[in-house]
Point group: C2
Chain length 149, copies 2
């Protein structure tokens, strides 16, 4: 049985201060999910949920997303073993984004490149151009090994 | 003079491991920006940038966003005084999201409701329904006072 989510209230006060959870899905039926490590608040990844993924996440306590590339429900970590147990789920003032505070199993890595976080490069100005500099090169697993087969 | 951002590379290796910053803007010309406190990593807000806002942010070191409701560049904190100085700007593996690590001036509050973070309510199951529970009620400023006039 999946959860029903009511349409967003037209009342700003209800949306911002009410107890009714009425997530605002975009035109593609998705809502942005910000995923952080519940222990130290590190930002691990940004993903998206549709209604089904959100319902599964709330009901099972394991983070589920919607893969826009594969166009299907994505139980994060099903292949790599890095399942995410949800410690706390929050929404923001206008209820169009979610914060998923998780505990990561397995390799303690979230990015498919093997790094802990998907945010491993800083944007910096170099000679008037915005360039990238790697700030985390540590791979917790070998992606070629994990995702092969 | 604003920065030019090249179109995303078709090469996954270049996108994920290269030094060229080629942010992927969506169909509306926007990219998601996750804003955290540079000191303790707390998630403060989620916003969006267009090319101009991103360029201004990189060039000035002060966070600029694009307001989807007002359809204009939004220098966060211009009204409330809570300007955001960018300590570090990062992008993720596929370069379709940004992490903006900031130091907040003024009231140390980011949410327009006066709270430190926009994520002040937790989603919890109550009698089979997903409901919201306030986890932060502290207002650092009175929004009616700050945004009046």
């Amino acid at each position: 049985m999946s959860l029903e989510f009511p349409a967003p209230s037209a009342s700003k006060a209800d949306l911002e201060e009410g107890a009714v959870f009425s997530p605002k899905f975009d035109d593609n039926g998705l809502i942005t999910a910000i995923v952080t490590d519940a222990d130290d608040h590190a930002l691990l990844m940004v993903a998206h949920m549709n209604r089904e993924a959100l319902s599964l996440t709330i009901e099972t306590g394991i983070a589920h997303y919607y893969s826009r590339s594969r166009r299907q429900i994505w139980k994060k970590g099903e292949t790599s073993g890095n399942l995410q147990t949800v410690i706390e789920l929050l929404t923001d003032c206008d209820q169009d984004a979610l914060l998923v505070r998780v505990k990561v199993a397995g390799h303690q890595a979230t990015c498919h490149t093997g790094r802990r976080s998907c945010f491993y490069r800083a944007v910096e100005l170099q000679d008037g151009r915005a360039m990238l500099r790697e700030v985390d090169s540590h791979r917790h697993f070998d992606p070629d090994h994990i995702y092969k087969s």
